[in-house]
Amino acid sequence: MKPTDIGNPDYFHKVVDCQWACPAHTPVPEYIRLIAHGRFSDAYMINWKSNVFPGILGRTCDRPCEPACRRTRVEDETMVKGKREPVAICRLKRVAADYKDDDILGRMPKAPAKNGKHIACVGGGPASLTVARDLAVLGYEITIYDQDPKLGGFIRTQIPHFRLPESVIDEEVGYITGIGNVNFVHKRIDSLKAVLAENYDAVFVGSGAPRGRELDVPGRKEAAANIHIGIDWLSSVSFGHISKVGKRVIVLGGGNTAMDCCRTARRLGGEDVKVIVRSGFEEMKASPWEKEDAMHEDIPIINFLVPKEVKHENGKIKGVLFEKVKAEYDAKGRRNLVPTGEPDPFYECDDVLVAIGQENAFPWIEKDAGVEFDKWGMPVVDEKTFGSTHPKVFFGGDAAFGPKNIIWAAAHGHEAAISIHALCSGGAVGLRPAPGVNIVSQKMGIHEWSYDNDISVVSRFKVPHRKKEEALKDIMAEVELGFDPDLAWKEAQRCLNCDVQTVFTDNLCIECDACVDICPMDCITFTANGDEKELRGRLNAPALNATQDLYVSGPLKTHRIMVKDEDVCLHCGLCAERCPTGAWDMRKYYVEMTHAEHACQTR
């Protein structure tokens, strides 16, 4: 193998699994350390820069970081007395938001003098708000259009307030509008051409995936009064237009919207609420914790049932007839749901909530507006620049590539803002700025590090919940109470500080084996060089996880090389502590994505 190029900013970034997995690449270990130090405002600002909505995401993110957490690969169930679980990264983020100083507003940027450029954002959700924030601080004037009376989009209309209090949305939307030069216009946009005709320098489309998929079965029309499209229903609940539901409710669908629907129904008078899903339990799209929360509220999840017919009498719903199916996999591993032939189960109900998916809809973009669409009706969008085929029109969030999550919308917004800034300042839209990288030794004394390198051997702490009886009574009462600072500190100790990198300098090594002997995970091997596959098999402990890199040095005095398997390294720093020559050093690797504000447009 060739020596690892640690000059490539991606190499050590990948070692920080959580940050690498985050679409916005939030520097997770750094803010967790700050939380452990009680520096909640600093932790909040790191998040705010990177993902724009720390308080919102700390309650609602679908956490792509957590399955990536190294903790899940190194924990020993018998030792931690619990399952192998990631650090509660998402809920720690909320701690930063909950306990930050009251004067955080003073840290927020203010708009400089206007630069004369004017940008329109269609849709007031997270993608548009991110674009607005990134550009407002550069002197752009932003006008955001939304059909709803308040900014927030999906965040405000479809996430129930018992999961995300409205005050948190108001606060974090307020930080963006508070920058200045961000105007909100409560208006539904019906024509892209009309928007373009207003001579904006660029138009950003962050209009989401606003259409709930229809239920297409006999009886749907006849019983329409009691069949509701999930996202529309949630939105109506959010704005107070709906305040009750029947006692017996069936929720169709297995995603997070279905979970929000069923839990909302429980709070609006639903006593017998069921979720009925086509797929098996494990294949459901909902996050595991959202399923748990629903089941905790006495909502059964019934799997492998496909709706067949809505039964009704005199225009009144009676219930839904289902067909029982099972999963069969073909030679290519694709799943087919085939009927089992068992009798069709029938479930009585008073209301049905349909949460079987969302679709993009762009009826307002004219065919001749200059924006091309593909055969699935999706706009043709560049995955890097988020530009469309119209040079001035950019897409982001669910509008770009279909329904995803808030964190993706924020990531898209950052990239689109970079493109828009390049467009407006005469730069090349296709160029992406390199991330900002700072790598600093953490050595404080002979065996002292500026980070807490002791490894906590405890299992994940649970976030306290409001009592079920209380929670179900009040739709505005937030169910999760969040970690208090004490619990947050304990949970933060579980973080392995994967951003404090083991950096090896081959010409300092005397091959004394001290690092090999001390490494608790048997990560380090000194051996003859070979090709990667063969090398992985003959290390001190086999490096079986091919998604994780091997760190390879140049040839040493004995012509051997040092090979470190990054996979299960605890970042405890003992290799560096036992190293007599400083060939190993623990260096904090802070990598921060460059946003429009600092983009030099020259990569």
Binding site: I510, P520, L574, P580
Partner: protein, 351 residues
Amino acid sequence: MTYIAKPKLHHPTLLKNKAGYTRRDYDGAISTLCAGCGHDSISATIVQACFELDILPHQVAKLSGIGCSSKAPTYFLGGSHGFNTVHGRMPSVMTGANLANRDLIYLGVSGDGDSASIGFGQFAHVMRRGVNMTYIVMNNGVYGLTKGQFSATADRGSVSKKGVANSDSSIDMVSVAILMGATFVGRSFSGDKQQLVPLIKAAIQHRGAAFLDVISPCVAFNNHPGSTKSYDYVREHNEAVNRVDFIESKAEITTEYAPGALQEVAQHDGSILRLRKLDESYDPSNKGEALARVQQAEAAGEVLTGLLYVEPMPKDLHANLNTVDAPLNTLNAPDLCPGQAALDKLNASLR
């Protein structure tokens, strides 16, 4: 020293041996020796050897004297018996312990100061008596604890960290051990685990006085140009005569050395000590030749390593004294006091 304990978490594929222990179960406390000390490597090697031999930790007694090396037993086999004796007196304590309980595995850990200076006499006698033990000298050629004065094993002409050349002749522990009657004598290097692990395993299985001189660079005071016990010097001058492939009945391990002729030495307990010759002309069962070769190598500035001398059918202290098979500490009053009738008979025989 290190401020945190070694984390308990371990590699997901960590295996258990036949005794039901993982390698990590043979660890001791975290080392307080200087970073990069060869002694820590030897500790890790002992851990590996005991793990591979499926040894029950409570059946091992580790004894040491005073010095850096003698601190080392704290850092391996945390579940074993331990005894830090007076400086240089470890051989006597080990002899006594071995007499009292012959069933334990005795691991003597000492240094060049402890064994070649203050305890030199004791060293000679424990070898003479053939105590069944593995005696390891972690040999760095300097007094590390007192900041790097030459020890008795420092080679004449080698240079101290301050630049002063050693004018005294050195004591070669291997030659002394062979002369004194040790029945298993080897030399190795802390930086070569491939060689050292099988050597220690073979030494532990040897039923007699086994001695290993392990060159273990002192990173703080004896790892500089001019030293003959530095990592670089030993690597450059290491002449391995053979490689031990000592495995009772398991498949033989592959070696990193070029293959050579095999020499099999039948052992007391019926097992076979298998040596892969790296030097065709070297015969470790010939005492006189072994001594000559060790001396010639020293004169040539080479560090001869490997199993240098082995007596296939050794007699240990208990055999020499014709003691009973049961450990003496398990004998109770009826065993030790045969009664009035036996006494009367004995007295009568003397009248």
